[in-house]
Symmetry: C3
Subunit: 166 residues, 3 copies
């Protein structure tokens, strides 16, 4: 359990961090990660390590909401074929039930559940499979940063699902 | 960044404010706005200014959940034809990732994302296009009130979308 | 209105409590309720009183996400026929707009809105009708526990709806 000040600081950290990803502002988003920060998707997914690898992946995959939507494709296939599979979509992350523990003097473990909504140009809203997430945040120079994020998807077949069916 | 007390006060402000709108309790809802309070919808939407204009619009549009649902209509057409297009629906606002800044001694800027769920009498749930919101809150006599709300919809065609297709 | 410390404590209470239900860890979940703790569903639903009754119901109804999904069935019919109607589903609770009041020295009233998402093995996400909830929490020996939970569903036909149509 954490005190109120730290709880609010962590909430504000995410409220700053995640809109940067949604705005495709990747370089600024990745400055909220440590240099060696990682994002891993389970089960049966992949782990991206370090800002360089993360930037490469995000730049190739996140697309542009003003482009036409790509055809039906899964997350795994989009990586294999190098497809910007968020083209034509505004995606938003919804976090809930954040449980925060201080595990070392400068290190927090934050667990929460998350779901991604996708709104297309017509206004249709769909949702990716729900997930649970475990982040490690580290504090340095008065700043919080994400050192690791492990996303566990609630469907074992999440990576092979068509991510935004018509 | 704000301290924990103010963060919690703002959370509790919205937890009080928004159920009044959902309950169609418009007069009490509008008392949580300043006299000149405004709500604006972008892009390509409209701006309503002052409690009188807001009350007129809400009374005409918000309908009654125990009425039958109206036929397929967009937000823009419902305004043109003066249709209570929330008839037959319970709508709920879901807010997330509230980022709070004090911009003047008595003035806060609050940014968040929001989505509206609609549950009809059969239990079907649908969602309006996601949005981001920027509110200005002012404090007077120990009370927070909304001075302005700017809702930016994530679909450019939000106002012409059938708002709750069958 | 509550102070920041209590607000955060309540948030962390739910962030601990609800994942236990989602993990089908019923005995630990029920330890976050008082011995006589109750859950009631309105309108036209049922009230379960005490940990024993709650455990019996949850064990019979909550199923296993790795089982095949049951056919189309309503909440009411699943109780009548003793069907584990959450088989094949990962369900998550999304809470928002928590309004907390201290009603006695050791007693809190917490009101919020909630929606349940269901993700099946294919990754399909659906939502149960939205609800509002009123909990009574009591504090004893430094621990918060739920004494009662009243869930009001936003559809009058919630209990007879097919809970996760294909």
């Amino acid at each position: 359990m954490v005190d109120a000040d730290l709880y609010v600081r962590v909430q504000q950290f995410y409220a700053h961090q995640m809109p940067l990803l949604e705005a495709r502002n990747f370089e600024e988003f990745l400055r909220t990660f440590t240099e060696d920060g990682s994002i891993e998707h389970r089960p049966g997914g992949w782990k991206l390590e370090g800002r360089v690898q993360l930037l490469t992946e995000m730049s190739a995959r996140r697309g542009d909401p003003s482009n036409p939507r790509v055809g039906e494709i899964s997350a795994r296939q989009a990586r294999a074929d190098n497809i910007p599979y968020y083209d034509g979509l505004v995606y938003r992350y919804w976090f809930d039930r954040m449980l925060i523990d201080r595990v070392e003097a400068d290190t927090l473990r934050v667990r929460y559940q998350a779901v991604v909504s996708m709104t297309d140009a017509t206004g249709k809203v769909s949702f990716e499979p729900t997930t649970t997430v475990e982040d490690v945040l580290v504090e340095s120079g008065g700043e919080l940063r994400t050192r690791s994020r492990v996303v566990t998807h609630d469907s074992p077949n999440w990576a092979d699902k068509i991510h935004n069916p018509s």
